[in-house]
């Protein structure tokens, strides 16, 4: 965006002269001149971002702030009241939707003076002060209001109880801006704010909107507040539902958002099919609004659908995919609207196959693919998230619908994206797409995807490492030997073993899951974990000994179980890892795993035992002796009636084999 300093010389020089003259007049001692200058400044900056920035740089904000303070200090004559109104209005305009302006106003120290205006007798002064403060509170930069201090809470209540609409609006803005924690939500409930806000639902249009938004802020993720709101008065919830039919689209949207918050906080409310269908239809209708309401409606729609299959089904039946598709086809979509629609589609396709197949049959995929190269990073991220949802479809993955150059090439390019959130989202989509059951994995390898995934697995950012490993793990899934070898050579044994020992447990888990897929299938692939003197196997042994969570144990034990399918050398190597600690005198991790509460971990561990004790293998009997001496056999015997059927079945198989070997050896 050009600053006003850049336009043609003649225009800008006269403009600048005028501006510095204006600055002089604002500082004038003659209150008449000062007043006219303040009004002129106000009229220049209202609605004009460029001018706001220009005057902020010129230092106008401290000058206006000074005028405000001076007028406040003097007797309350009419002239002074006008000065107060004009300077407050100018400060408010600097702060309106413009963060640099908010910062300048706060830095100038005007905040306290604006608050002081609220207790003036002149209504116009109060109005101007409240309006400017509300502008400030609409920015993230506004100072946090401490509700937990008693006098602050009293002041807030006095604002909400005011006759003046702008002042009640200010009270609501403070709540929306500053109420973040459960403690603050509780304090507001306790002070009776819910009740006050409920009564404002019957007020003027702007009060309704402010009240709906504040209520949502206080109730969000706080079941206690939700039930208090619903039970305190029968009318309360009814009023919100009624407002979802209001004439004003913004009010309808805010009412929907409030209802969604109540529902997501306490699933016991708003369960009947009527209200659910109504919310779906209302939000789809609001999407048509050309302004901000339409933009926000898509985000509200996503939060309505999130994790809820029943609502996704209703939305599907209400032709949500078709409607979102229509919006996506429009030219010149604003980035925020674009992002919102993509995220709503992602949510819709996150669980139901019917949604995904409708999505694919309408060829929405092409439009989403276009969004992968959008200039705004939020849009690119949303497109990746959408792609990840749709590619959960095993049917379409099997049909190779996503392994196309048109999708894979831009997606791989996003792995380099300067924004980490785009990279993470792209990795999410890649992880699903590379699962692919056909031979099409080569498309991904050919366009350099593998190299990038390996690079990202060494990133400083643990989230990137996690997601890159996830991609590699899925790429490894059911891959043929050439593909496995390619991945392994790129990744190398040393870096794989250092990923197994990563400081982050969730990265460790993914690295182990990757090795599990590496040694799965063809027996030939077991050789990889023995490369470079078996550093990978040693790393796994170390990690299992210190496993901080069950998931790490599960993945690690499946790796060992897969290796134990191999030849005698492989089986002995696994035994070595299992009994290493017994020889050191500490408790073997295998015993700990067999006693774990996690049935999956018990299953994985028993599988390893089964593979080690297959009676037909030559060394089985010596291994049984070792397992018995380490107390492992007796532990398994205690598990014949394990509550988990799977474990119980495997335990019996293992004991059968051990018995057979024991009989033949004695």
């Amino acid at each position: 965006m050009p600053t006003p300093a850049s336009p043609s010389a003649s225009a800008s020089s006269s403009h600048r002269r005028g501006s510095s003259d204006l600055m002089v007049r604002i500082g004038s001692a003659d209150s008449e001149i000062k007043l006219r200058a303040l009004r002129e400044l106000k009229n220049q900056i209202i609605g004009n971002r460029t001018k706001k920035l220009f005057f902020v740089k010129l230092g106008a904000v401290p000058a206006v702030s000074c005028a405000l303070a001076e007028a406040q200090a003097q007797a309350q004559a009419q002239a002074q009241a006008d000065l107060l109104v004009q300077s407050a209005a100018a400060l408010g305009s600097f702060a309106c939707g413009f963060d640099a302006g908010v910062r300048a106003v706060l830095d100038s120290g005007a905040f306290a003076n604006l608050v002081a205006l609220l207790s003036f007798p002149d209504d116009k002064v109060v109005d101007a002060g409240a309006r400017s403060l509300r502008m400030i509170y609409q920015s993230k930069l506004a100072p946090k209001y401490d509700f937990l201090q008693e006098e602050n809470m009293e002041f807030l209540l006095s604002l909400l109880n005011s006759e003046n609409e702008t002042v009640t609006g200010l009270g609501a803005s403070i709540i929306i801006h500053s109420c973040e924690t459960v403690v603050e939500q509780k304090a507001l409930c306790h002070a009776g704010v819910l009740k006050k806000l409920t009564s404002l639902l019957e007020g003027s249009p702007s009060q309704k909107d402010a009240s709906l938004e504040s209520l949502a802020t206080i109730i969000k993720k706080n079941p206690e507040a939700a039930s208090k709101f619903v039970s305190e008065s029968r009318r309360a919830l009814r009023s919100v539902i009624d407002l979802s039919k209001d004439r004003n689209p913004r009010t309808r949207l805010l009412a929907c958002m409030c209802l969604i918050v109540i529902r997501n906080t306490s699933p016991c409310y708003l369960q009947d099919i009527g209200i659910k269908t109504k919310l779906v239809c209302l939000l789809l209708e609001l999407l048509d609004d050309p302004g901000q309401v339409g933009e926000e409606a898509s985000f509200a729609f996503s939060s309505l659908l999130a994790q809820k299959e029943d609502l996704q089904k209703l939305a599907f039946e209400a032709n949500a995919i078709e409607k979102l598709h229509n919006h996506l086809q429009k030219q010149l979509l604003q980035p925020r609207r674009y992002q919102g629609i993509l995220l709503a589609l992602a949510e819709l396709c996150s669980k139901l196959e019917s949604c995904r197949s409708r999505f694919l049959s309408l060829e929405v995929l092409n439009l989403v693919t276009d969004a992968l190269t959008h200039e705004v990073s939020d849009v690119r991220t949303a497109a990746c998230i959408c792609l990840r949802s749709v590619s959960r479809s095993i049917k379409s993955l099997s049909a190779g619908r996503f392994m196309k150059e048109m999708i894979v090439i831009p997606l791989v390019r996003l792995l380099h994206d300067p924004s980490t959130s785009v990279q993470v989202a792209a990795l999410g989509a890649v992880s699903n797409i590379v699962v692919d059951f056909t031979t099409a994995k080569s498309t991904f390898l050919q366009c350099g995807g593998l190299k990038l995934l390996v690079q990202l697995s060494k990133s400083m950012d643990p989230i990137l490492r996690l997601n890159a490993l996830w991609g590699l793990r899925n790429l490894m899934f059911l891959a043929d030997n050439t593909c496995k070898e390619g991945i392994f050579l790129e990744l190398t044994a040393p870096s794989l073993s250092s990923l197994i020992c990563d400081p982050e447990p969730f990265v460790q888990e993914q690295a182990l899951a990757l090795v599990r897929n590496l040694v799965d299938g063809c027996l030939d692939s077991i050789k990889y974990v023995f490369a470079e003197d078996g550093i990978i196997l040693d790393a796994i042994g170390r990690q299992l000994q210190g496993a901080s969570k069950a998931e790490i144990g599960i993945q690690g034990m499946y790796v060992l179980s897969n290796i134990a399918r191999g030849d005698e050398f492989h089986k002995e190597a696994v035994m070595h890892q299992l009994l290493l600690q017994v020889n050191n005198g500490t408790q073997a991790f295998i015993l700990k795993f067999l006693q774990s509460n996690d049935s999956q971990l018990r299953t994985a561990t028993i599988w390893t035992i089964i593979n080690l004790t297959i009676p037909s293998s030559p060394g089985a009997s010596s291994r049984v002796v070792k397992l018995r001496n380490a107390g492992i056999v007796s532990q398994i015997k205690t598990m014949v009636n394990d509550p988990c059927v799977d474990v119980k079945l495997r335990v019996r198989t293992a004991l059968g084999a051990i018995m057979t070997i024991g009989d033949s050896s004695t």
């Binding site: 050009p2 336009p7 009229n43 004009n48 408010g92 010149l332």
Partner: protein, 200 residues
């Protein structure tokens, strides 16, 4: 009924009529009648081509209106440009377009298109006969004026359309629906609202 009439008078800005009606019928308007005067002054300023004056008046009334409504602000500035062109102040018009309107065009694609259309006025010798000549038409002023009027009403928590015309529309629609289904006492003359029995 009285409230409906008052609503109509207030929304349409008939301040004198509203005041008389208040005295005669005792119906209290839902907003301060003085604000109607202010609103009408803004509207009149736009209608007579005094856009700068109108903008200042709106800002005095409520500085938030133009700060939070970029489309309206753009349309007012565009109208200002149109007036400069109408008065043949080419130099000033160009400077104004560059200083004030160009940055808005960069913020919003559709504003840019409208701006291009407006500046195109300067390219024609005979503006009355050019493809964008309708911008100079008086109806453009009226369009802008009613946009401002609606925005002020909304900011005063007042609906921007009077209730009476939409009620009448609903009545006619309902009667048309009924006509297909039943015989009933119908209102044929809206000015007397007399129920007429159906012809048997």
């Amino acid at each position: 009924m009285n409230k409906l009439v008052m609503n109509f008078l207030v929304t349409e800005g008939y301040v004198d009529a509203a005041e008389k009606f208040r005295l005669e019928s005792g119906t209290e308007p839902d907003i301060d009648l003085a604000t109607i005067t202010d609103r009408m002054a803004v509207k009149k300023a736009v209608q007579s081509g005094n856009v700068e004056d109108a903008i200042e008046k709106v800002n005095d009334l409520n500085p938030e209106i133009l700060d939070t409504n970029p489309q309206l602000f753009f349309h007012l500035q565009q109208q200002r440009l149109i007036e400069l062109i109408r008065n043949g102040k080419v130099e000033e018009a160009l400077e104004f377009a560059q200083e004030e309107l160009a940055p808005r065009g960069e913020e919003n694609q559709s504003f840019l298109e409208e701006l291009e259309k407006t500046v195109a006025l300067l390219a024609f010798e005979d503006v009355s006969n050019c493809p964008v000549g309708e911008l100079l038409d008086i109806s453009q002023r009226l369009k802008t004026a009613s946009e401002v009027n609606a925005a002020i009403l909304t900011s005063q928590s007042h609906e921007k359309d009077p209730k009476l015309p939409s009620l009448l529309k609903m009545l006619i629609w309902a009667q048309n629906q009924l006509d297909e289904k039943a015989a009933y006492p119908r209102i044929n003359d809206l000015s007397t609202a007399k129920l007429e029995d159906p012809a048997v």
